[in-house]
């Protein structure tokens, strides 16, 4: 209750309501939810309203918490030197907890608890400002949050406390110095580049994976075969988006030896095809990515681990409002399961190049792209569900560029609708496909064998630093209250 009585909480919360309403507005592009089997439009509106409201309110609460502590720090006069640091720390912790709580809130059979969903992190808004975005290769997106809030607090304190402008100015110069120093290090960092690999992305234009009739499926399959045939003339690595199902469709027509022959005759030289399909393993449905060599068959595979709430598993929280709506829907939802949670590292070895495979929403989680010392990142996207929503696309593209910068690796994003991209190790889009078209996106990617600081240490340094500052501030406040 004390929390709700503070103006700081409400300022943060209301600011969050506006910001996250903008961030999560893309949820409305899911309407009318026919891919979930919802037939009544009114039911779809109610479900989306509940989801949208919950997302916005939950995430805004963490901004409210930040507001609460910000007010507390300001009131306790912790000093001009400390206050910006403490505010920045409080924001980093609030953002990190928001990301974790999001996964707890949407937990269900198939869900994964962890900091997987930093959707709407303000760092993503600064992807085009190189001096800022590059900092993520040292300490991740939370370090950008830290710097932005540190800088923002300095500006605020400068204008609100003009008598101490010198202290503010010194800190601002120090901050700018730090940013410039890190940029300088970034520019002179060693990159151990391998021989470029020619890649071809088979970009498709599929409305929904589940609602295709046979004629449409065959037509899409034929187009994919044409594109693969064309790509095999030049590309060393052919990448298909999530749900492409090349292997599964081939197995409809061909026996095992026929499939081998098909791959073998694609090219005289050995080429690799990264496919993704929905299939069943031990009675469980998975989204499986497979790397196939045209000459020696299956090279490696990865089962998608981080599933999307509602889209790929039914969170417990969602079952409550649905059960109130209709017992019929509840019966259906209680057994709803699109995918099972996979396990194992999302790493596949292509000769001496280590591929990091991110399937669709896994791209959003920075931690998912760290392990295994990858040389190249490949994202297999299924973004048709957003119906080319501008906001969703912007956020995904921003996340993709940050994953490339954080790890300083080329990133290829293959999408089953909208656009595919080839992003270089500095987060710059080198090539992009024509939106909503069947086409081949070809280009060269250069595997990098060196690791960034962030790839080594992840988010822990900035979280640790923030926690220490935050703890010190609380202690100081408590001591002050006692005295």
């Amino acid at each position: 209750m004390k929390l709700l009585n503070t103006s700081g909480f409400w300022v943060g919360f209301i600011a969050g309501l506006f910001y996250f309403s903008y961030i999560f507005w893309w949820l409305w592009s899911l309407y009318p939810l026919d891919s979930l089997g919802i037939e009544k439009k009114s039911v779809a509106i109610i479900i989306l309203s509940v989801i949208f409201t919950l997302c916005v309110f939950i995430t805004s609460t963490f901004w409210g918490l930040f507001g609460f502590f910000a007010e507390k720090f300001s009131k306790n006069n912790l000093g001009l030197t400390w206050t910006p640091l403490l505010l920045a720390s409080a924001f980093v912790i609030a953002e990190y907890l928001r990301s974790i709580f999001f996964s707890i809130f949407w937990y269900g059979g198939g869900g994964a608890i962890g900091p997987h969903w930093p959707l709407g992190n303000i760092a993503y808004l600064f992807v085009d400002i190189n001096y800022i975005s590059r900092l993520s290769s040292f300490f991740g997106i939370y370090s950008i949050d830290f710097i932005l809030f540190y800088g923002g607090s300095l500006i605020f304190l400068f204008f609100s406390n003009l008598t101490k402008w010198k202290t503010c100015l010194i800190q601002a110069i120090s901050l700018l110095g730090l940013i410039l120093l890190l940029n300088l290090i970034y520019s002179h960092q060693d990159v151990n580049l391998d021989t470029p690999i020619s890649v071809a992305v088979v970009q498709t234009n599929i409305g929904s994976l589940d609602l295709l009739d046979t004629e449409k499926s065959i037509s899409i399959f034929q187009k994919k075969l044409e594109l693969i045939s064309s790509a095999s003339k030049t590309a060393e690595l052919i990448i298909l988006p999530e749900g492409a199902g090349l292997l599964s469709n081939l197995s409809r027509f061909l026996k095992n030896d026929g499939i081998k022959k098909y791959f073998d005759k694609l090219s005289d030289k050995e080429i690799f095809i990264l496919d993704n399909m929905r299939t069943s393993v031990d009675d469980q449905p998975y989204s499986v990515s497979t790397l196939i060599s045209s000459k020696s068959g299956l090279v490696g595979l990865y089962n998608k681990e981080i599933l999307v709430p509602l889209g790929e598993f039914m969170p417990y929280i969602a079952q409550l409002p649905i059960s109130l709506l209709s017992s019929d829907y509840m019966g259906w939802f209680s057994t709803y399961r699109v995918l099972a949670k996979g396990s194992g590292q999302n790493i596949i070895q292509l000769k001496n190049v280590t591929l990091k495979v991110l399937i669709c929403s896994e791209l959003i989680s920075p931690g998912k792209s760290l392990s295994g010392n990858p040389n190249l990142i490949i994202t297999l996207g299924s973004y048709s569900v957003w119906n080319s929503d501008r906001l969703a696309k912007k956020q995904i593209l921003s996340a993709a560029r940050f994953r490339a910068i954080e790890n300083r690796k080329y990133l290829v994003l293959a999408s089953n609708s909208d656009q595919s991209y080839i992003i270089n190790d500095r987060g710059i889009i080198e090539k992009s496909g024509t939106p909503n078209t069947f086409e081949l996106l070809t280009g060269s990617v250069v595997p990098n064998h060196n690791r960034t600081w962030y790839n080594y240490v992840g988010d822990w340094p900035i979280l640790l630093l923030s926690s220490v500052f935050f703890g010190l501030a609380l202690r100081k406040i408590r001591n002050g209250t006692k005295s």
Binding site: I218, Q222, S248, S251, F253, N256, T279, I292, L298, T335
Partner: protein, 318 residues
């Protein structure tokens, strides 16, 4: 546990073993039966059973049998079935399954003839045989191991054999055969493309993952009915004479699919038949691929390039 119940459980287990690959495989995923989207793993492992006859590729090598032919000696018994029952899979066996039953525990075996498929109830027949075995004392604890095992095996063989024996034979004498002019062939191929696309491939129809496949009667019955209608339609087509052999195979295939899916849909009435039918679907999917290859081969040998999408896909693949 009552001996009768024990025997019934043992029977179920043995039936499963000889229901092509393994009972486990059925429940491991409907996808493994290629009923909906399913990858076929590339043959990387010698422990695989490429032709699903109950013998792994490694065992096929030991027996010197064809690892892509489930019945290497062509005597009507699966290679694995013959090995398990002590016969040589390379030598055509003169033994009838009925003989085996005669030799063991059962005095009389119900004879099943082609066309009885919808009337025969394999679950009832198997139960009757088991009861007879129990009454005779051969399937009780007191019987020696050999008698017991032979008896159980014989019941399993008989059940599966009756399934295949009862399948009707299509009378292809009534087919309307025309000359093999390009015009006739093109017209025929248009209808054939529709059959392949709507029935033999059917990429869009999927089972509900969450439910036991045998609880989804409606899905299978509808599918069975569609195959039956498709077969009836295929009977009325004008068949160019150079396509007659392929068309006969397609008719057989459509018929078997129709019967298998209908049998699965009637799981509650005859669960044993449904399980054997479920495994048989895998074999039919394999046959579908052979027929598609044959169709493509015919197209090439007759220098035909039909515009239908499904044929274009086949041209890209073969």
């Amino acid at each position: 546990m009552a001996p009768k119940v024990k025997v019934f459980f043992v029977f179920l287990a043995v039936t499963a073993v000889f229901s092509v690959f393994s009972f486990f495989d059925v429940f491991r995923g409907v996808r493994s039966a290629n009923i909906y989207e399913s990858p076929e793993p590339l043959p990387l492992d010698i422990s695989e059973d490429a032709d699903q006859d109950g013998l792994s590729n490694q065992d096929e090598s030991y027996w010197n049998t064809d690892f892509e032919n489930p019945d290497s000696d062509g005597d009507g018994f699966l290679d694995g079935e013959e090995v398990a029952s002590g016969f040589d899979p390379r030598e055509p066996s003169s033994h009838e399954l009925g003989d085996r039953l005669e030799d063991t525990v059962f005095g009389s075996v119900k004879t099943v003839k082609a066309g009885d498929f919808m009337d025969v109830n394999l679950t009832d027949d198997a139960s009757n045989l088991l009861m007879a075995g129990l009454a005779a004392g051969d399937l009780t604890k007191t019987s020696d191991d050999t008698t017991y095992e032979t008896g159980i095996n014989a019941v399993a063989f008989s059940t599966i054999d009756n399934f295949y024996k009862s399948l009707p034979v299509i009378d292809s004498g009534t087919l309307k055969i025309t000359n093999d002019s390009k015009e006739n062939q093109t017209k025929y191929l248009e209808s054939l493309a529709q059959i392949i696309q709507d029935n033999l491939l059917n990429l869009s129809e999927k089972l509900d993952y969450e439910q036991n496949p045998f609880d989804q009667n409606k899905f299978f019955l509808t599918k069975g009915e569609r195959f039956r209608l498709s077969m009836e339609g295929a009977f009325l087509l004008d068949i160019p004479k150079n396509w007659v052999d392929t068309h006969k195979k397609i008719l057989d295939l459509l018929n078997w699919f129709a019967l298998d899916y209908t049998a699965i849909g009637h799981y509650n009435e005859d669960s044993v038949k449904a399980i054997v039918a479920f495994n048989d679907i895998d074999k039919l999917n394999s046959m579908t691929k052979d027929i598609l290859k044959e169709v493509q081969s015919n197209l090439q040998s007759n220098d035909l390039q039909p515009k239908n999408l499904v044929f274009k896909v086949m041209q890209s693949l073969y």
